[in-house]
């Protein structure tokens, strides 16, 4: 009973409600492309981009922008396009350039924050950008609206291009040979990833984004066998885990991002077990 009372008390605060809404939306978006990301080996781009986003965020902080998304979103999207182009030209060079860009922007970002930050709690700031410790609970109304709009766009784009994304993910050369414009869809996937990463920075911080994207997909792949059921399952799972994570962190006062990822890990273990048991039965 006490738990329920405590929860309903918390829900009277708008920031808790905002956090939950945004959390659900972001985790829905991030899970959708998880399968594609894992299978297309785009995850390295995801990792690189999250560091770019961190760099852009520190620049925004230094410039004193009140709404840092204005800067972070375009920078990340452009980097996504560049990284994709680099990755397609030559495989090894692509990997190296991702590493260069991502570590570079991490270093520059931290340097800039150190040099120009006026905040008294610098390491706290850095920590919250990296691990998203509080930002989800300090969202302004504009940010909530922006998040909502972007999420709706991402989900709509995914549903609309679902079959094409499947085609390009499963067998890119066949898709290209039969006249599907694979280049454009790769670009679309990269842009969506960039948007998701910028969104997810708010929820879990830049270091933990990959976990948010990849864990639900990997869990779903343990149990389900078709692309559609894996996609649906990872979306549901991701939303569930994030909501649970946010509630736990509000009640227990733990950092939001890492709590969500911890819940995702537990779910992964659970699904692995289910997959193991049911796989063993069918054999």
């Amino acid at each position: 009973m006490m738990l329920v009372d405590k929860l309903s008390l918390y829900f009277q605060y708008p920031f808790v409600r905002y956090a939950l809404v945004v959390g659900v939306l972001i985790s829905l978006c991030s899970s959708l492309l998880g399968v594609t990301l894992v299978l297309k080996r785009f995850s390295f781009i995801g990792d690189g981009l999250s560091h770019v986003a961190f760099g852009a965020m520190s620049v925004a902080a230094v410039l004193g922008l009140t709404n840092d998304m204005v800067l972070v979103l375009p920078v990340t999207v452009i980097s996504a396009i560049l990284l994709l182009a680099a990755g397609q030209n030559a495989k090894i060079k692509g990997d190296a350039s991702v590493a260069m860009i991502s570590v570079g922007s991490l270093a520059i970002g931290y340097l800039l924050m150190n040099l120009f930050s006026t905040s008294s709690n610098l390491s706290g700031d850095v920590c919250s950008t990296l691990f998203g410790s509080t930002s989800i609970l300090t969202l302004s109304k504009t940010e909530v609206i922006l998040c909502t709009v972007l999420s709706v766009v991402v989900v709509a784009a995914f549903v609309f291009f679902y079959n094409k994304i499947f085609c390009v993910t499963f067998d890119e050369s066949f898709a290209r040979a039969t006249g599907t414009k694979a280049g454009i869809y790769n670009l679309l996937i990269a842009v969506i990833i960039a948007v998701i990463i910028v969104l997810a920075m708010n929820l879990v911080g830049s270091l933990l984004i990959s976990a948010l994207v990849i864990f639900p997909a990997l869990s779903a792949m343990r149990v389900f066998r078709s692309f559609r059921s894996v996609t649906i399952c990872s979306a549901v799972l991701s939303v569930f885990c994030s909501s649970l994570g946010i509630l736990i962190s509000v009640l227990a006062g733990t950092p939001v991002g890492s709590t969500i990822v911890a819940v995702d890990i537990v779910a992964f273990a659970l699904f692995s077990l289910i997959g193991f048991v049911s796989g063993g039965k069918s054999k």
Binding site: K164, R176, T178, S226, F227
Partner: protein, 234 residues
Amino acid sequence: MSQLECRDLCLGYDGRTILHNLNFSIDSGDYLCIVGENGSGKSTLMKTILGLQSPISGEIITGDGLHQNEIGYLPQQTVVQRDFPATVREIVLSGCQARCGLRPFYSKEEKKLADENIEKMGIANLGKRCYRELSGGQQQRVLLARALCATKKMLLLDEPVSGLDPKVTAEMYQLIEGLNKDGITVIMISHDIGAALSYADKILHIGQNVFFGTKKEYLESEVGKGFGMNGGRE
């Protein structure tokens, strides 16, 4: 006019030419076998025909109502990642993608076409199974069904029987022959010279010496004699 014609085609990678001045043409309903040593550029030729890479020089002309994106394709190796979760039906249906244009979902006809092709390939009982759990021969059939969804006119098959046992190989050849009888032009790469000679009506031999002509001409040519006798060595 022939359905597909290659004129003075030179192909290769990064400016390095592998094949020089290739000339041949195929008519609607033909069964062409491409033979040649490993590394002679057979798969490269196929990829060039499909538009996956551009020729160094020369041109590929499609005619007889064939568009370049109406060619069905069975790759030599599908680099499908080990863990890809997809059912047989989802994969076959993806062959219809090119027909969709910007339309986001598959139409009833396309779903019907996919089911028919699944039926035709004799894998109807596998429709809901996961692709990665199938045997090599079953996977080839799935990919062939997918290729059939992409075309009614021309199929390009890159070593469709590699890694299959003799029985499944024979079944595969029969399936392909049946499709050819239904009017689909077949271009097949094969190391199985015996099969090439018994099913195909035209042969393209590439390598040091290039030969293109009918089966009969091939058997009488120097290239053909050498290749047939010594089990693939020139």
